[in-house]
Symmetry: C2
Subunit: 198 residues, 2 copies
């Protein structure tokens, strides 16, 4: 139905194609954009195009950055012998926000998923193995605690162990502040298995 | 914290300023945009700028359109003597989707809200009154069933009644398929007051 006429429909359609934006949100966003001053809309549009044009992979850890080497890898104070493997740049950011991790990262850009047809060669795994030729002491696998994340963790661990580099996995269990009553059984069992001495 | 470096941070910031997009969604969207092909990003950016540049108010009903007269007002088959007053273009679209309303609309672009300092002169009310000089039989007030919407409905009704034009208000009550148990008391009382003969 041609409710809004061409330009608005096209904008709603483009916005609705973005992840997490349904048709209602797309409508609301579209009308918000149309009511914004033209210069602000132009600025947003330009920021989008520029980000896309300028952002690339860090040549060491493959996180998204607009430099040749990302700020973490470029920091000589970080421990470059400790590599945390994450699925994507947002996960890297989540650990960076803790401000407590001193090592560097490796961003896989995905996880192995036979269901979705994503194999080891579709993520930045070869690149991780290449990095191990340097002076690496430990690889901390921080893929998600999902089926894909666990599969990927197992795969990486089997791949790296023969090289003699220490491979660890971040703990999974009850989230801090979590109420046991509301936590799923798998997590509860995982927390039990992973119990530590007090 | 300079987690992602300039271009990404700027993009996340711009996206998070949009309505209904929190910082987490803004991050997700930003990375999605960066992973999209450049031509698709450019297309989205251009669609945004073009929509903003080309969309204006319909010179009759003040809905957003990219023509001088919107498709509804331009349709001679619609009943131009029946005007439904709505708060915004999305509300117009909601009624258009029913496909059952034969009249035309008037879009106020807001509602009277003393709390927010929005008075009668801040919405397209003068424009509505001007339209009554034509051949109008009925004004159906379809502002929201909120405090602001009700205030606006009362105000418009008092303004129009002296002109002799029929003024009606859409019914408010229990939504179709709504379970009484989960419906607030005010709505339940409103539904009771508005009961009709069977």
């Amino acid at each position: 139905m041609d409710l809004y006429s061409g330009h608005i429909n096209k904008l709603i359609e483009e916005l609705a194609a973005l992840p997490g934006i349904g048709s209602k949100s797309a409508q609301r966003l579209a009308f918000h954009l149309i009511n914004m001053p033209q210069d602000k809309v132009n600025r947003l549009a330009n920021v989008m195009m520029e980000a896309k044009a300028n952002v690339r992979y860090c040549s060491e850890c493959y996180t998204l950055t607009d430099r040749e080497i990302c700020p973490v890898c470029a920091n000589v104070k970080r421990n470059h012998g400790m590599i945390m493997v994450v699925e994507n740049t947002r996960d890297l950011a989540a650990y960076e926000k803790t401000g407590k991790y001193e090592g560097v990262y490796h961003v896989l850009h995905g996880a192995i998923s036979p269901m979705l047809g994503i194999g080891p060669s579709d993520i930045k795994l070869k690149e991780l193995i290449e990095r191990l030729e340097g002076d690496v002491e430990e690889v901390i696998i921080a893929t998600n605690s999902s089926l894909e994340g666990e599969t990927t963790a197992m795969y990486i661990s089997k791949l790296i162990k023969p090289t003699g580099v220490r491979v660890t996995r971040i703990a999974s269990g009850v989230p801090v502040g979590g109420d046991l009553e509301y936590i799923d059984e798998v997590t509860l069992l995982r927390a039990l298995e992973g119990r530590t001495e007090l």
